[in-house]
């Protein structure tokens, strides 16, 4: 029964002679369309849309970048820091140079070395002067640098206090990399 209904349906659809109403009018209109010059406006609109999207995205990107940059500059002004004073991330060669320096400081038996770093004071400096000339010269030069850029640490050292030096301090705070490369 099911099959009969389906078969009948297909047969009836096949048998039906479908004719378009106003066929002549349709053909006339179609030929008119074909005679018209090809319309590129749709494609042009698409191209314009893509171009507008790109411009919009670029503008948005520039705006966000400027916003971030302005905030950073404002923050720097608030912090009373100029760009040159920003701590630069240490490079591999700087790390190596500082490590070498720390090894040299640690190898000196005159300087107390702990996991906090190397400590030195005026007393230690006197001892080093007689034991390790190379290290003494290095520390002297570093004291000059300290006096110039970190007067409070230098004052502490001058008053006889012990100054603690860690590799991190040397790389970041004391900006030893600059000092090493400039000396």
């Amino acid at each position: 029964m099911e099959k009969d209904v389906y078969k009948r349906f297909v047969e009836d659809v096949k048998r039906t002679d479908l004719r378009m109403s106003n066929e002549d009018k349709f053909k006339q209109r179609l030929l008119q369309k074909i005679n018209e010059p090809r319309n590129y406006s749709k494609r042009l609109i698409q191209v314009l849309r893509v171009a507008a999207s790109i411009v919009l995205l670029l503008s948005l990107g520039t705006y966000i970048w400027m916003e971030v940059d302005t905030r950073e500059q404002r923050w720097l002004v608030e912090q009373q820091i100029n760009g040159n004073q920003l701590v630069q991330p240490s490079s591999g060669s700087c790390k190596q140079a500082v490590d070498k320096m720390m090894t040299l400081l640690a190898s000196s038996e005159s300087l107390p070395f702990s996991n906090k770093g190397v400590a030195f004071s005026k007393v230690h400096l006197k001892q080093i002067k007689s034991e390790n000339a190379e290290l003494f010269v290095m520390l002297e030069r570093m004291l000059v640098y300290m006096e110039q850029f970190y007067p409070s640490d230098y004052a502490a050292f001058q008053s006889g206090e012990t100054v603690q030096l860690t590799a991190w301090q040397l790389r970041k705070e004391y900006d030893v990399c600059n000092w090493i490369t400039n000396n």
Binding site: K3, L18, L30, I34
Partner: protein
């Protein structure tokens, strides 16, 4: 002029030759498109777009690769599928014809009722299932030709046709019982 001469002449931009091709194939393609679209105005629009594409791409037609009718069917079918996919609203159809048709085995279907009947019976079919159903069961085209027209594999055609037949049958049964 033979069909081959008409095609070659149209390829060279002869609009009169193309007008003859339109004369020859309008009825033929309208039947196919209407059986897929089931609405006269939409079918006319699809057919118009089809002939415009044919005119624009005629230079790409290679007689060695496929028959001209297969090439026309391919363009018309793809335009019809695209139109079905874009269709945003359902076309209202009176249930009366469908019920009468399914309940009375001797009901004589009028030409103007066919569109609504197909639309109702195939309402649950996807555009591809509908196209495969029309091409295979109504137009009785060979699998190879349907494969060329739709770009589907033989297995996909078989699967789509199986589902289409099942869904149409179920729909007809529902009205028959109702």
């Amino acid at each position: 002029m033979t069909e081959e001469q008409l095609i070659n002449s149209s390829k060279q931009g002869n609009k009169l030759a193309f007008a003859q091709l339109i004369d020859k194939y309008t009825g033929y393609l309208y039947q196919l498109v209407f059986r897929i679209i089931n609405n006269e105005e939409e079918s006319k629009d699809v057919l118009q777009d089809t002939f415009i594409v044919v005119w624009q791409k005629l230079s790409q037609y290679d007689a060695g690769k496929s028959k001209f009718t297969t090439w026309l069917y391919t363009i018309a079918t793809r335009q019809a599928i695209s139109s079905l996919r874009k269709r945003k609203h359902l076309i209202p159809v009176d249930d009366g014809v469908m019920s009468k048709y399914c309940e009375d085995a001797h009901y004589q279907l009028a030409n103007k009722e066919v569109g609504g009947l197909i639309l109702k019976a195939t309402k649950n079919l996807s555009p591809l299932q509908k196209v495969v159903f029309v091409l295979r069961d109504v137009e009785e085209l060979e699998v190879d030709e349907v494969r060329q027209i739709t770009g589907l594999s033989a297995k996909q055609i078989k699967d789509n046709l199986y589902l289409a037949r099942k869904l149409v049958r179920e729909c007809l049964m529902k009205y028959g019982k109702g």
